[in-house]
Amino acid sequence: MSYYFTVLSPTDVPLFNIAFGTSKSGGDGIARFRFPDTAQYMNQFIIHSSLDVVEEAQWMNGNMYLKHIDTYPPASAYISAFLTPSGARFLLLHQPPQLPTNASSATTGSSSLLGSSFSGSAGSSSRASASSVAANPTSPQTEEAVRQFMTEVYENYVKTVMSPFYRQGMEIKSSVFRSKVTAAGRKWL
């Protein structure tokens, strides 16, 4: 599974971008999208186009986490959305790997290796649910994992926003924030 995570301001300006791959089931945390490397703009196009759906869902659903809201079938890209009350949107594009062999080559040994190299906060319970995350992007387990991820990012986002040197609509450049998001991705996705 490959992920592209974006924080957008209420005016659709991207504040933060990160692409990463799954670290579960032996993943190495590197994003491998289905587009060729020259076509990485596709992620932004897909994310941007899903804002149509976000805008609609935004007023029909008061939850902060809107779950899986949109799909881009040609690349089987799934979009999940999380809205902060102040109008920023967290959009996560997730794309199952093209070759099923990638996912099936998972060995539990390597995943535990990754788990240990990472700070111990990634509980063993999350690892159990994670295997199904990679398998099916619309399963309830995936929804829950994405929700956990979003919530964790939200916490860090609030901390960023609280800074007097941060204004709404400003790009988030903090490397700590980035590493926190990466860690959250590793932990949940």
Binding site: P10, P14, N43, Q44, I46, P74, G169
Partner: protein, 741 residues
């Protein structure tokens, strides 16, 4: 671009207006441009950090983003002729018309087929007039649109007039490209479609800038003419096949001329030919169909009194289905007083198009076109109308009623269900036997040949459903197809199975009263899915699979509302399955865009539309066109994209996402370069217009920025202290130490 569609008066049938709820169109109609109303969210959308008002590149290219809400100066339009496709005239009107127009096109593609079987002397007479193909070629174009209203009664007795009814004349003698080409030809027919499109694109260097463009503008701004060529071609591929009866003759014209020395004998001989001669229909076509006898009278050479006498005789022998057609045998030329150009055929199969027998792209002054005397045209029109209104339609109505009574109602009733049940159970026991012996107890499906004989209930029901469909009684046809689906599945008659699912879904979508609730639409989606799977995976029938997906897309699109999302999905599916070639990819990308664009925002609100998606697909289409080396098409797509994006982007038309912006800038640049290369560099003056427009946009932007104060005039927005403040503190100038916001 050929204008076969434009030659025939293609306007949405007025009979659509009363009674038929046009819900989909109506809801979309008034809100098309609501986004321009001032709203907080729009204001929010404006206040952003990006300070450069216009990307430098787009300022110099002529295809600046055009805010659809802002009044567009006409001069700009005229100064960029090659870029203008989508936005002249009222886009709302156009979109509305476009969807009805496509619908009508689809309906007309399923017209009844009338065979033509003319005696040698008749063909000879017509050849004298310049029609090499004989009588069939003469009357063929006139069948495609019957003048005036055709009134059809449906199964419950309600009658309804249709303006756009037509029939398809085919030559029973087999000179038509009635495709004997079976498997090999079928698989390549999609390639033929692609070839036709290619030819079309190649024939004029600028298909949009050509002579057709103005026409296109006036009638349907959002459907590209090329796409309509594609659609027409796709729907014309299908030839007579066992699994559906749309191409089976409903009636046959048997024609002799007044020159014939033994008229009655000839008529009998021709009749016999259609029954068991070389014009005999195959086993899977129902052999009973209407015969219509025509006497062609030569006005220039023969005596009308003689002919009238013969005609009376004919009527005595053959009953009421007779007509006396009075034609002049002299050839008509343009310079004749009452000459009229023969209309072009709208429905030609791809093979015909490619063979180029009729070359629709020749200029007006060449002599490739045929002319007829006004009197002949009148006579043929009257003849065709009488044929259809008084013979074909009543005949079909009658057949539907009879079959409905005799076959369908029995199946629908309790006993019918019971029968089919028991049949199914019996199937378990005799499954192996049925595969060997056709017409065994378990089914009438002939596995070895792959068809039902024409007189089996399954075939008759299908024919009845198709008749009802062609008579536009979609309620009846839908229920009949539904009845058939399980039968076909039990017999593993997969092509039949796919056809029944496909047409059931199509009927449901065409039936105006069966307004799709969410549940129903899901059901329809399911049916298309099954049909597509059966066609493609079980039968490897790519042309039908593509037809199925295209119909799904177009009809769902015309439903509007949430159905357009599935419509777009089907179009994507067609592209994903590789059913369309490179040109098709471009067309389908445009179509996906059109589907999303058809989604109307929630009344008064800015959400609910799919402009970003539509814009994205237009950009993809532009990319596809550019890769095909069609900069003019790419430029049109790009302009459409900008029109669509205008509602969601900031007034300066810049994208918030940097990679998107880069991609689009590059695309614009490439289109511009290629376009200028293709055309010579004579379009420099557009730049000034574009710049004029650019300043207008900028000024608009300034007064739209109001809310979200924290986002504007922000001294810290470059992440540092101080230096960012310099250039932008227009209203803070007095108090530099005051931290605004």
């Amino acid at each position: 671009m050929t204008s076969p569609g434009d030659a025939a008066p293609v306007k949405p049938p007025p009979s659509f207006s009363p009674g038929v709820p046009r819900v989909a169109s109506k809801t979309r109609y008034p809100n098309q441009r609501r986004d321009s109303s001032p709203s907080l969210d729009a204001d929010l959308g404006d206040s952003r950090l990006r300070s450069s008002p216009t990307p430098p590149l787009s300022a110099t290219t002529s295809d600046l983003p055009i805010r659809s809400a802002s009044p567009r100066p006409q001069s700009f339009r005229s100064s960029t002729p090659q870029l203008a496709r989508s936005s002249l005239g009222s886009p709302v009107e156009g979109r509305f018309e476009g969807s009805e127009e496509i619908r009508s096109l689809i309906i007309r593609s399923f017209s009844p087929v009338v065979g033509v079987c003319a005696s040698a002397d008749t063909d000879e007479l017509v050849r004298q007039k310049g029609f090499a193909g004989g009588f069939w070629e003469l009357i063929r174009p006139f069948g495609e649109n019957i003048p005036g209203k055709i009134v059809i009664r449906d199964s419950v007795g309600a009658s309804r007039g249709w303006e756009d009814f037509g029939v398809r004349f085919v030559d029973l003698a087999g000179k038509t490209p009635t495709p004997n080409d079976s498997s090999a030809g079928r698989s390549s027919s999609l390639a033929q479609v692609e070839d036709v499109l290619d030819k079309q694109l190649g024939s004029t260097d600028d298909p949009l800038g050509g002579s057709l463009r103005p026409k296109d503008f006036l009638s349907f701004p959002t459907t590209s003419p090329l796409y309509k060529v594609f659609l027409r071609q796709l729907l014309s591929i299908s030839s007579a096949t066992p699994h559906e009866t749309f191409r089976h003759p409903v009636a046959s014209i048997i024609a002799i001329s007044s020159r014939n020395t033994a008229p009655l004998e000839t008529l009998r001989q021709l009749y016999a030919d259609t029954n068991n001669g070389n014009k005999k229909v195959p086993d899977w076509v129902h052999p009973e169909y209407l015969r219509y006898y025509v006497l062609v009278h030569d006005e220039d050479r023969d005596d009308i009194a003689e002919s009238t006498k013969l005609y009376d005789q004919m009527k005595r022998h053959f009953g009421l289905h007779c007509h006396l057609l009075r034609l002049r045998s002299n050839q008509c030329v343009v310079t004749d007083d009452d000459s009229a150009q023969v209309p072009e055929c709208e429905w030609q199969s791809p093979a015909e198009r490619l063979s180029g027998r009729i070359e629709p792209l020749v200029d007006l002054d060449t002599n490739g076109l045929l002319y007829l005397f006004e009197s002949d045209v009148m006579a043929i029109k009257a003849f065709v109308r009488e044929l259809v209104a008084q013979s074909v339609i009543p005949y079909m109505e009658n057949r539907v009623a009879v079959w409905n009574d005799q076959v369908a109602s029995r199946r629908r009733g309790i006993s019918g269900r019971f029968m089919s049940m028991s049949r199914r159970w019996a199937g378990f026991g005799s499954g192996s036997r049925s595969s060997l012996t056709a017409g065994g107890a378990s089914g009438n499906y002939d596995l070895s040949h792959g068809y039902y004989k024409a007189d089996t209930p399954e075939a008759v029901l299908r024919k009845m459903a198709d008749f009802a469909f062609m008579l536009r009684d979609w309620k009846l046809s839908a229920s009949t197809y539904e009845l058939l689906r399980s039968d076909y599945a039990n017999d593993k008659a997969w092509r039949y199975h796919a056809g029944a699912y496909e047409m059931c879904a199509v009927s449901m979508l065409l039936n105006p009263s069966a307004i799709g609730t969410k549940m129903k639409l899901d059901g329809v989606d399911q049916m298309f899915d099954t049909a597509c799977y059966s066609y493609l995976t079980r039968c490897s029938d790519a042309p039908n699979a593509l037809r199925c997906l295209t119909l799904a897309m177009e009809l769902l699109k015309s439903r509007g509302g949430s159905a357009v999302e599935s419509a777009a999905r089907w179009a994507m599916r067609a592209m994903d399955l590789g059913l369309v070639g490179p040109i098709g990819q471009g067309l389908f990308s445009e179509r996906v865009s059109a589907c999303y664009a058809a989604r109307a925002p929630v009344s008064g609100m800015k959400w609910g539309s799919r402009h970003r998606k539509a814009g994205m697909w237009s950009v993809f289409a532009a990319d596809a066109w550019l890769r095909l080396g069609k900069p003019s098409l790419a430029s049109a797509s790009l302009e459409e994209a900008e029109r669509l994006y205008a509602d969601v982007l900031d007034a300066d038309g810049s994208f918030p996402m940097p990679e998107m912006q880069t991609f689009i800038d590059n695309l614009r640049h490439a289109v511009k370069v290629e376009y200028l290369e293709a055309r010579g560099l004579d379009t420099r003056d557009e730049t000034t217009t574009a710049e004029a427009l650019g300043t207008e946009e900028t000024s608009e932007k300034l007064d739209r920025r109001r809310n979200r104060k924290s986002l504007i005039a922000n001294p810290l927005d470059l992440g540092g202290l101080g230096p960012a403040q310099g250039p932008r503190d227009n209203d803070n100038a007095a108090n530099d130490d005051f931290e605004r916001a």
